[in-house]
Amino acid sequence: MKQLKLTAAVLAGLALAFVAFAARAQAPAEKEAAAGKRGDLVLRGDAKCTRCHDEEDSPQVLQIGKTRHGVNADQRTPTCVSCHGESDRHINKPADAKERPKPDRIFKRNNDVTPPEAQSEACLGCHEASARIHWQGSAHDRGRVTCANCHTVHAPRDQVLVKETQAGVCFTCHKEQRAAIFRFSSHPLKSGWMACSDCHAPHGSVAEHNLVRNTVNETCYQCHADKRGPFLWEHPPAREDCTLCHNPHGSNVPQMLQARPPYLCQQCHVAPFHPSTNYSGTNLPPIRPGVTAPGFDKMLGQQCMNCHSKVHGSNHPSGARFTR
């Protein structure tokens, strides 16, 4: 079955490659057509910029022609000055200026020309709807993070918009999370199968921690809908907040648990007999000579969950103790 899936995936990939290459071969180069009609190198009305910022001078700048911002057929496509301003002083350097003044709006971090909110304004003029509706006043906005701090507008592919590379951008500031992906138990983020934005909305949201859904649990249920219930027997902390027991960024305890059972469970359960027993290294294997009655069933394997396996909730009529 695995071999079949593998073969199917490779064949599907090659078929896609063929279709796309064939389509490309038949299509006129839109960039060339646009340039031919208007005399602009990349975008409508950019000639006053590309007069200097040509392929010799600024090949990276012209890469914008390969992005969605370089599609002239889309009437919404901005020009250079839409984002950078008319920049007359930059274009016509004043005679008394030692250095050429910078454009009216630049997007470098902590620069003297354009404050963070003015940088983001340039983008929000077109992009304030949809996921950016919560941007103003969001945690990143208040932290003086700008759009350009994460997005690379002139690059053909923006690192933060590719699932396999996105985390590298987030790790610029979220350094503990970078370390966390190397822990024993983590989500499949290290291999690029998941991205930070599967759970977090970097442009802001109504939820704490900028989560993509209204609550922690609602976010987790996107992929773990089996834990959603409602259950006949609810485990209150599991219903309240998955992160009371789990660390979603990674943990050295199996199952991304915050701490090791039985101690984690015993932080809330102190009842007679085994819930309150002080389990220890006594009788952990290998069994020492003379020990005849090993008593470590709460310390080995799944520990408390050896019996209480339904800690996320049980729908069994006899599941009040989360064992069924």
């Binding site: 599907a12 490659a17 599609v71 208040r142 690192q159 590379t165 590298g168 006949l232 309240e240 049980s314």
Partner: protein
């Protein structure tokens, strides 16, 4: 060679096919990058994704390790195919495009997608992602039917005899029947989406996602769990479920206002409702007749099918320049109505109920109060935010958030059959005094939260920020929570200095305090036990000064310091430190509050449960450009998470419950040290580039235990747990021509773990539980990859 069993399937590679693939491999153009790992920094080489490119090649792994291949798919020794493609094409001058991508096509964890559209007009997309989680390759079981929903014992198995020290005393009888069964899960995700701009300022998108999971997972299967007679076995259960999600969003935008209207539907279907297994344990005291080996069976319910609807509307209005009002309203409904399993699989059934097989003499006189739960939880959310930058030096944000979690699930009295081995009480009635009769509880909460956050530029490029948050959560009277409400007050300040482009610094302090209503341990007890029971035994058996940390009062201090320095053009250094301490406390741990029925001297001076928590994360991070063409980075991160807890080892006698001499404590401390180093070189002519990346991660768990005088002999220390990773990646790319490049990768990873929960534990090491015998993973993996990449510029 690690502890993991290597007797797993090998991925066979047909050499001819591989050669043909290479020969055909005009495509493929990845830049040199670490294999199968996300970049650890911004500025990663994106050329793999920039252009039309296809990469094909072969790789080889020297190691069979489920842990190494847990998510990347390289779980077996042998060869594998390397296949990546990225195609981006504009189809004309009218804005149409066709994009396709495929990553890791030669591995079990792969992604494939295609998108077609006209920019500014419409789009459709489809995707298919596959992920296999390789969890355990060395798990051992005695049952037949592994991977199914009914597990039986093999012929000749004589059962685990009654008595103490089972299964250890029966190892010789159990071991011959053990065999390996791998635990892994496949997740196949199919995506379909589309959208179009249907009027100026309006657009609609619809996305569908289907997750299919197949495989098996481990679960603790228990037989008899009351009265001190539990017996359990860790077994695999059949995982075969599907989650479907549809989300439709209509968006509207104008220059001064925007709105989103959405509907999200999620449906979870589980094809396997239960796990049934033959009881391997001989009958013991307290079990009903014939419920043990070999006539008795056990059954547990698996996750019930359910569905979810959410309607949401968000609107935002720029009231004036630099002032914005945003509001969100959403209404969600969770529903679950799977048919109940009967109380027990072991008969005879209650009169008129379903026939259960095989029959035992278990007494089950009470019928289920209803055939299914009809579980309903509705959530109502309202969020309003006002934000302004109307003043030169001041910004201000105010936010109100309301979230009502309304559990409408009907409650009823359920009789309890412990582990398919214990008899029911003869009558299910609220006046009966029996701990085997329980009410289910529908917990509802209401959260009100108000936040205000402002900053002021006290000097040029120096901001002083202050913030305050009030959060009140009320728990309805009939809920299982131990308090009727909690209140958080969080107050903080932050100073941010931007000296220049080269230096910035931030210092932040916040204090969070939670208080709340009287803490009532009997509240949950009264909610779930019968009146007959609570009248007869008015006080629950938990120690009354236990405080659940997620409800307890606390004081929490948090400090953050961030610095970024660029001492010279080619060097950047970032420093970041986060620290917090939280101390849990009362209320009223030194004396009775509403637990008036408990003797006053039962209360110790300090609350039991989690008493303190600490966390820290310190990072130094640098990037360096030593010369043209060179890039290097390095980082070190230290992380700490620790908790202290206090408990009391008791039986059900008052003498023990009031005895401070039976107190014990545990201090759990988890630390991580992570180091990353990377270097890359590419000459001016870009003919080749080479790089290396090394990551070291050392995570240690320490378990400090203390015990008072009555707990003698004192407990032995618990060993540390440890996970230590060395990961080295060497990578190179040689550009053979403008379009063709060769890529080479070598990846060495060494992993060592110590975990007392698994190490040296055989299936028969534990009293009362038949374990799986799997060991904590170790591996030394060498991965080689060579591929050819074609880029169509």
């Amino acid at each position: 060679m690690g502890k993991i069993d290597r007797a797993t399937r090998k991925l066979s590679v047909n050499p001819l096919a591989a050669a043909v693939a290479l020969a055909l491999a005009a495509p493929g153009a990845a830049l040199a990058e670490p294999m199968l790992q996300v970049p650890l920094y911004r500025g990663a080489d994106m050329s793999r994704y920039d252009e039309n490119n296809v990469e094909l090649g072969v790789g080889f792994s020297t190691e069979s390790s489920f842990k190494f291949g847990e998510f990347n798919g390289i779980h077996d020794q042998g060869g594998f195919l390397i296949g990546n493609l990225n195609l981006r094409n504009r189809l004309g001058d009218d804005g149409r495009y066709l994009n396709a991508f495929g990553y890791n096509l030669g591995l079990p964890s792969r992604q494939l997608g295609v998108e077609y559209g006209k920019q500014g007009g419409y789009w459709i997309s489809a995707g298919y992602d596959m992920l296999t989680r390789y969890q355990f390759s060395d798990t051992l079981f005695i049952h037949n039917g592994l991977g199914g929903s009914v597990l039986t014992l093999p012929a000749g198995f004589a059962g685990i005899t009654a008595g103490t020290s089972q299964p250890p005393a029966n190892a010789a009888a159990i071991n011959p029947f053990l065999r390996t069964y791998e635990i892994k899960q496949d997740r196949d995700v199919f995506r379909l989406g589309g959208g179009f701009n249907f009027a100026p300022g309006w657009d609609l998108s619809v996305n569908y996602r289907q997750d299919d999971r197949d495989g098996s997972k481990l679960i603790g299967a228990v037989m008899g769990n009351t009265g001190g007679n539990p017996r359990a076995a860790i077994l695999p259960y059949d995982l075969n479920d599907r989650t479907q999600q549809v989300e439709a969003v209509v968006r509207w935008r104008s220059k001064t206002a925007q709105a989103n209207f959405s509907y999200w539907y999620s449906k979870y279907d589980n094809d396997v409702g239960s796990l049934t297994w033959q009881n391997p344990y001989g009958i013991i005291a307290g079990w009903a007749g014939n419920s043990g080996f070999n006539t008795g069976y056990g059954r547990l319910g698996l996750m019930p099918s359910n569905d979810f609807h959410q309607f949401a509307a968000t609107g935002a209005w720029n009231l004036a320049p630099k002032q914005r009002l945003t509001g969100t309203f959403s209404y969600s409904m969770m529903r679950q109505d799977d048919a109940f399993l009967p109380y027990t699989i072991n008969g005879p059934a209650f009169p008129g109920g379903p026939t259960q097989t095989p029959g035992t003499t278990l007494t089950v006189p009470n019928a289920l109060p209803r055939s299914s739960l009809d579980g309903k939880i509705d959530n109502t959310l309202l969020d309003l935010a006002y934000f302004t930058r109307a003043w030169d030096k001041v910004t201000l944000r105010a936010n109100y958030h309301y979230n009502k979690h309304n559990n409408k699930t009907p409650t009823a009295l359920y009789a309890y059959v412990g582990g398919d081995t214990s008899n029911q009480p003869p009558v299910a009635n609220d006046t009966i005094n029996s701990t085997q009769l329980r009410w289910n509880v529908a917990e509802s909460t209401t959260e009100n939260r108000f936040k205000v956050d402002g900053d002021y530029e006290i000097f040029r490029r120096t901001l002083l920020r202050g913030f305050y948050e009030y959060k009140h959560i009320s728990y309805e009277e009939e809920s299982e929570a131990l308090r009727s409400h909690t209140t958080n007050n969080l107050l903080g300040a932050e100073l941010r200095r931007i000296m220049s482009e080269e230096f910035t610094g931030t210092l932040r302090y916040a204090h969070d305090q939670r208080t709340g209503s009287d803490y009532s341990l009997t509240r949950a007890y009264r909610a779930t036990y019968t009146t007959g029971t609570t009248n007869a035994v008015p006080f629950p058996d938990n120690v009354p000064t236990l405080r659940h940390f997620f409800l307890a009062d606390y004081d929490k201090d948090m400090i953050r310091a961030i610095g970024s320095i660029t001492p010279m053009e080619r060097v950047t250094i970032d420093l970041r430190a986060d620290w917090y301490k939280v101390k849990y406390k009362g209320p009223d741990c030194g004396g009775p509050n509403d637990q008036v029925l408990a003797p006053a001297n039962i209360f110790p001076a300090e609350c039991l449960g989690r008493t303190q928590g600490d966390g820290a994360s310190y990072t130094i991070d640098g990037s360096f450009v030593p010369a043209d063409g060179w890039n290097a980075f390095a980082f070190y991160t230290y992380s700490l998470f620790s908790t202290d807890q206090l408990s009391r080892n008791i039986n059900n006698t008052a003498a023990q419950q009031i005895s401070a001499a039976r107190d014990w404590s545990a201090s759990l401390k988890y630390t991580d040290n992570t180091v990353g180093l990377g270097v890359r070189y590419q000459p001016d002519n870009k003919k080749y580039d080479v790089g290396a990346q090394y990551v070291f991660s050392d995570g240690t768990g320490k378990y400090g235990l203390g015990a008072a005088s009555a707990l003698v002999p004192g407990p032995l220390p618990v060993p540390d747990t440890q996970a230590r990773l060395h990961s080295l990646q060497l990578f190179a790319k040689y550009r053979y021509s403008k379009n063709v490049a060769l890529r080479f990768n070598y990846w060495f990873e060494k992993y060592r773990t110590d975990d007392w929960a698994y190490d040296n534990a055989t299936p028969t090491s534990s009293n009362n539980v038949l374990l799986t015998g799997h060991q904590s993973p170790q591996y030394d993996a060498h991965i080689f990859g060579i591929s050819i990449a074609y880029t169509n510029w």
